[in-house]
């Protein structure tokens, strides 16, 4: 029993980082008032660029390249939605479509249909002594992103609730006009949040192809970006909430995969499809129960417009 739990925890911690990073990125952008449905496309771009870069440079550097790629897609989103006040959902979905088809096109033109060649994965770290401890041992033996994913949410929490920048970000997502009249730049704050969100989503994607797998695959990230959105909503647009939701979803996934191999008879009772749908169903349920209005940033999705120029 302990054995099973251990391996469940281990695979949860292995799989969670991509989701955690993407959810934090989406949250950062949305707290500043910019909708982030393009997070799937940013992840895909980050995953692709990191995998390609890792063919030519050390993997950790390639991860940085992936982050930059995510930020580049976010920059397009920022250009359209902040600079030109376009519909943020449209812009995000457009970027998803471009990343989807563009990723496939480049993959096929450069490497063929089976994904990029294998790359060196990020090294895994064993925490001396910890491995032997029951359950806690599951914390040992992961790559760097796992440990980063366990700390970043707390840093984000600190940033949002306890720093001047965080205060301004919250204000700009709730009432941008108030921020503008104090002489702060609404667009600078939103640009910062959107680019930061892009870096995080790109990191999430890069982790997929450098830590979870050892290549970029045709369908990466296979909807994980949307699940990150679910985690963000489920976590009520807070860093710790999104973190907890992401962990929970990752655990559910690990449980499903674990069950499929160890107890297939159970899956006859509870079909896999149900378990796959569970994170989304739960998010819908939570939204249905509490309504959404109370928690989303008030100015989310509304382009900032000074009354006159």
């Amino acid at each position: 029993m302990l054995e099973v739990l251990h391996s469940l925890l281990f695979s949860t911690l292995d799989a969670a980082p991509a989701l955690v990073f993407a959810a934090l990125g989406a949250m950062l952008s949305e707290r500043a008032g910019v909708v982030s449905v393009g997070v799937e496309g940013m992840m895909r771009t980050g995953a692709f660029c990191a995998a390609v870069a890792a063919l030519a440079m050390p993997t950790p550097v390639a991860v940085l390249v992936g982050m930059g790629a995510g930020a580049a897609i976010a920059a397009v989103h920022g250009f359209l939605s902040i600079r030109w006040r376009s519909d943020q959902v449209v812009s995000g979905m457009a970027l998803n479509l471009v990343a989807m088809a563009g990723g496939t096109f480049l993959l096929e033109s450069l490497f063929g249909p089976n994904g990029t060649p294998a790359i060196t994965q990020l090294p895994r770290w064993n925490v001396p002594g910890l491995s032997a401890v029951p359950l806690l041992g599951a914390l040992s033996g992961h790559a760097a992103p796992t440990y980063l994913a366990l700390t970043l949410p707390f840093l984000f929490h600190l940033l949002l609730s306890r720093t001047p920048l965080g205060l301004r970000l919250r204000a700009v997502g709730d009432k941008p006009h108030a921020v503008a009249t104090l002489g702060l730049s609404v667009s600078a704050l939103r640009w910062g949040a959107v680019l930061g969100g892009g870096l995080m989503a790109g990191l999430g994607g890069a982790v997929l192809s450098t830590a979870v797998l050892d290549r970029f695959e045709q369908h990466t990230p296979a909807g994980l970006g949307f699940m990150a959105l679910a985690a963000m909503v489920f976590g009520r647009w807070t860093p710790l909430g999104a973190f907890a939701a992401a962990l929970f979803f990752a655990f559910g996934n690990a449980l499903r995969i674990g069950l499929a191999s160890s107890a297939p008879w159970l899956l006859d009772l509870v079909p896999q499809g149900f378990l796959l749908a569970l994170p989304y169903l739960l998010t819908l349920l939570v939204l249905a129960l509490q309504g959404q209005r109370g928690h989303a940033p008030a100015a989310l999705g509304t382009p900032y417009e000074q009354e006159s120029r």
Binding site: V37, M93, M100, E108, A230, G291, Q292
Partner: protein
């Protein structure tokens, strides 16, 4: 610049720019000559190889590609309409994909398991698909109207619920076709009966089927409904200024819910056209994400029903031609890249308008401050 031009021009320019940018990506990864030949293949693959036909080739050289294009255009028109209709009432339907999945499943089940003469079987299967799609979209509608849940979030969630439940459970589990002795590896649901197949319009040389005229009729119907009926007028009023519509005695919840249900029904019909027209069953998975494409089609068509039909025709042709590009080593999903870029450029509509305005000083009335 007239109002009509202001509506249409950005879309046209966006598609042209997308074509240019994508040509450049092939030219850069390969060479300019390949890019041009790939585009020609795409064109012949979409509208037919007219030069070959006129040189004495068989009619199939033209009819087959046109049939493929029409088939794809039909699906894109229906999902595009789905998104556009929801937009008209102020809702962003990201969920056409999920609605289409349930529609396809419903059509496949009615097509395979109900015995009826053809005149009744096809309409019944279509109806079932429309109802299934409407039911699924109505979940998002109810959540929005009763609980204030943003439809973008809920329809995204519902898409994944639909994929998970149908593709990962029903179709591989309880609803999977029972293998009849010979092959045990059938994926998807049972084959539909011949009476449920959408009739082919040009015989065996082309897959053009009833789905295409059906989609056109749907587009015309939506256009007439929105522009010429009181119910359509009310729907638009609700979408533009919901409080004013409510104050005017319009049943806003009913209109918004109705439009959302119609959106789901249209996406469900797309699923039916796919299953009854070409696939013959619900396959292992629905394949191309026509539901997501609908977002691009609707927006490139400026959320106008006829605009959606036109943009669906354009991308139907490009995508039918996409398969031919493989001859030159370009992935068949390439037209989707064009479509993605076109949507991206349409999203920058404000940029277009600013550029166009700078070129021609526009006399449009100043919007006064209240």
């Amino acid at each position: 610049m007239g109002e009509r031009t202001r509506q249409v021009l950005p879309s046209v320019l966006s598609v042209l720019l997308a074509l240019a940018v994508c040509w450049l990506t092939i030219a850069l990864t390969r060479d300019a000559d390949t890019a041009t030949r790939a585009y020609l293949q795409m064109l012949w693959g979409g509208v037919g190889n007219w030069p070959a036909f006129l040189d004495g080739g068989s009619a199939t050289a033209v009819l087959r590609p046109l049939g493929e294009a029409a088939m794809k255009a039909a699906l894109l028109t229906l999902t595009g309409l789905s998104v556009a209709v929801a937009f008209k009432v102020g809702l962003f339907n990201i969920g056409a994909q999920g609605q289409m999945i349930w529609g396809a499943l419903a059509a496949a089940l009615v097509g395979a398991h109900v015995s009826l003469p053809g005149v009744l079987h096809v309409p019944l299967a279509l109806l079932a698909a429309a109802l299934a799609g409407a039911a699924w979209s109505s979940i998002a509608g109810v959540l929005k109207l009763k609980r204030g849940v943003h439809e973008v979030i809920s329809t995204i969630m519902l898409n994944w619920v639909a994929v998970s439940l149908v593709d990962n459970w029903l179709v591989i589990g309880p609803l999977r076709a029972v293998a009849e002795g010979h092959q045990s590896s059938i994926t998807g649901t049972a084959e539909i009966l011949a009476t449920a197949q959408l009739p082919r319009l040009l015989g065996d040389s082309s897959r053009l089927n009833l789905g295409f005229p059906l989609a056109l009729v749907a587009a015309l119907g939506v256009w007439v409904w929105l522009g010429r009926t009181s119910a359509g007028y009310e729907t638009r009023a609700v979408g533009l200024t919901p409080e004013a519509a409510r104050a005017a005695g319009i049943p806003t919840l009913q209109r918004a819910g109705g439009a959302m249900a119609l959106a789901g029904a249209l996406a469900g019909l797309a699923g039916a056209v796919l299953v009854l027209g070409t696939e013959g069953r619900y396959p292992g998975s629905l394949g191309a994400p026509y539901g997501f494409d609908g977002i691009a089609i609707a927006l490139i068509g400026n959320n106008h029903p006829l605009g959606a039909a036109v943009s669906a025709a354009v991308f139907g042709i490009l995508r039918a031609g996409g398969t031919r590009m493989q001859l030159l080593g370009v992935h068949k999903s390439f037209p989707e890249l064009i479509q993605g870029f076109a949507l991206l450029f349409v999203a920058g509509r404000m940029v277009w308008l600013a550029v166009l305005r700078r070129r021609r000083e526009q006399p449009a009335a100043e919007v006064p401050r209240a």
